[in-house]
Symmetry: C2
């Protein structure tokens, strides 16, 4: 087995309101087993369309996985269409029927007749029990190809795949496996990053390197297909190590951790406490610092000092400082960081003031101008960044930059201590 | 024209890291024109696979739209595969080439030879200019069917579709159009909602009613295909009106507005100002209130009073009140709302205190317990809700509930004045 196709079944997936997301989970699992996904199709609840989709997929792929359309209603036609195509009779399966009946009884309800459809099994098919729902999965083989039908609800799909399909596929898949590493980077543009590391990853021709810009930083995906897992892991670790060396502390995670998780862990390790005074990010930095369970240990409090009066009242920024430099200035960011640190009696204070737009920009301080400051007992550092894009993007990138400023400070402090 | 198919081109869309989201935009636009999307396919950057996908789609649909694979690299094979299938020669288009060259010159760079690929146009195709990127779209006709190729980057795709494709399709599509209404509801469970309105929408057999639970409330989609747009609109408005009557003020939007937008608009209309003191939501309520441009008019400031000391220092919650009732209590929520209102000199004050978990719960105050309060000049109202789910879900639902509490207060105040 080398090539797989995924057919997502459901007319609702052909409306503007729904996306098939099950295929991301399935693709990851199949890739891990060394199976490449060569096509995904989204097909309506229509017998003829389904029949044709199965027929065409079986011409191309060793394994065809269809998701959805196994429910009790008349729209659920997946098993009928496949049985029709393969010329297999659909027979009621007594054990499945009993289980469905029991499920209803357990919830104090009587099974309605339409649920009997879910107990229909094509001749020669293997039933894949579904402990989380009434529709079981099905496994069929035809002319050396395998077809798997899975229920559509994501929880049931994952459950049936992991418990029932994975062990079968492991037996049949070749020795070829996919190894994968994910590096996350903050505080660097995508083009700058690529410029720094292109020469390195291009030397690893067998490794597929994908660089993705996301609102939570840049992701570097390293993928290697190999029959020798240990060797593949070694090659990826070597390449990941070289990229990390080239990018330095811009790399904040080599094991899939998010920036919020890394900052939370570093704060916990350091024993430091933190407080935040933010304006243009409007509470997003505090929200991200309190995202992680256990944040009350290090997070003392936050102030969203949108108005100048609140900057003065809550964190003691002198009114005449705002008057002199403007609310969006390095001086005010520093006063916010030191002020909130003092007010909350925290080890570290963060100050953020900027213009998220679309209004409020001036030639000297255009929309996207954001001043950051981080204060500790010894003093305060500050930084100015000009972000592009709309209000939402500026706020997201500014909160990301603030988190990254904290992360870099804690990294350096830890190395200094080490 | 009745039936459309969408082919999303790109090997990255067959990895676990990417989803095709362009098709949602295209589906909405096509539906509006009365075209149903009957299949979506996701195909690798592979000449043979692309050729086959086009051939099969052209057998089923009147219109085939392919997105992506028009760029300058060797992986970009969409136009080659289609020209190959339709047996049309690919010829360099001088005007397109000039425009690409100009684009590079404008950015002070020289065009590299690989960019010439983007100026190749199949014989007989119409070029769809792309002001936002180097790859133009293409429109081809073959045996009464239409094929449209669009660039993959979402901004460019939307631009070329709206400016170039839409006017052409409007000329060719039939009189059948899709009418659509979207109602948004807060403060009610999905099953409770369905129970209240099922009898109503089932009487409208021609209308497709879809109920979706999202983190930002429940959405009720009403869809009706008809040749008589005015009549379809009338039917949908009648049904929307009946649903709104049945659900009362739980319906916060009948025109697609989000809760954040509705609250922002109501605050602006009312002339009120607002301040927030929140604990378990960690800044999310302030962040949502400042999401919308112009929020500085009504948003005075927010406090994330995670620690008891900050509740006392920043919003004047008496330490002995916390001692007596616990930090998570109606009394403390009210003191936070009235305290932050006073401290920020705002018309309205909001207080939120609760347990987001996973730790910190007790038998009397389990994880998910959240107290809300809203204070005005006359006094304070309070509310207790117990949310289920994990930390993230509890925080999201709590911020949604707080926004909805503000929304309902402003609705009622407006009606009282009216």
């Amino acid at each position: 087995m080398k090539h797989a196709e995924i057919i997502a079944v459901g007319s609702e997936l052909l409306t503007p309101f729904h996306l098939d997301t099950n295929s991301l989970f399935l693709t990851e699992e199949l890739n891990r087993l060394g199976l490449a996904v060569i096509r995904k199709s989204i097909v309506a609840d229509d017998r003829q369309a389904l029949r044709e989709a199965f027929a065409q997929a079986l011409e191309r792929a060793d394994l065809v996985i269809a998701t959805g359309g196994l429910g009790p209603t008349e729209d659920d036609l997946t098993r009928e269409a496949l049985a029709d195509l393969l010329e297999r009779r659909l027979l009621p399966n007594a054990r499945v029927l009993d289980e469905i009946r029991e499920r209803f009884a357990h919830r104090g309800r009587t099974m309605t007749p339409n649920n009997e459809r879910q107990a229909l099994v094509p001749e020669g098919a293997m039933v894949l029990p579904n402990a989380l729902g009434t529709a079981p999965g099905l496994w069929l083989e035809t002319r050396g190809r395998v077809v798997v039908l899975l229920p559509g609800p994501p929880g049931e799909l994952r459950h049936v795949f992991t418990e029932q399909v994975l062990p079968q596929l492991e037996k049949r898949s070749g020795a070829r496996r996919m190894a994968h590493r994910l590096l996350r980077v903050a505080g660097m543009s995508e083009s700058h990053l690529d410029h720094r590391i292109a020469e390195i990853y291009k030397r690893y021709e067998s490794v597929e390197t994908t660089i993705l810009a996301t609102p939570e930083g840049i992701e570097i995906h390293l993928t290697l297909w190999s029959e020798d897992s240990a060797e593949a892991g070694r090659v990826l670790d070597e390449l990941a190590g070289r990229i990390t060396m080239a990018l330095g502390e811009a790399v904040f995670s080599v094991d899939g951790e998010t920036l919020d998780e890394v900052v939370a862990r570093e704060l916990q390790l350091s024993g430091a406490t933190i407080a935040v005074a933010e304006s243009c990010t409007g509470g997003m930095v505090s929200a991200r610092l309190t995202n992680i369970a256990g944040s009350s240990v290090y997070f003392r409090g936050g102030v969203v000092s949108y108005s100048n009066e609140m900057k003065t009242a809550w964190v003691g920024v002198p009114a005449e400082l705002i008057e002199r430099h403007g609310a969006v200035s390095a001086e005010v960011a520093i006063a916010m960081a030191t002020g909130v640190r003092r007010a909350a009696d925290a080890t570290l204070g963060v100050g953020i003031t900027g213009i998220a737009g679309p209004g409020g920009g001036t030639p000297e301080k255009p929309v996207g101008t954001v001043h950051f400051s981080l204060a500790d007992a010894a003093g305060a550092q500050e930084r100015l960044v000009r972000f592009g894009g709309d209000r939402d993007r500026i706020r997201r990138l500014a909160s990301q930059t603030a988190l990254d400023m904290i992360r870099r400070y804690l990294f350096r402090a830890r190395q200094g201590r080490g």
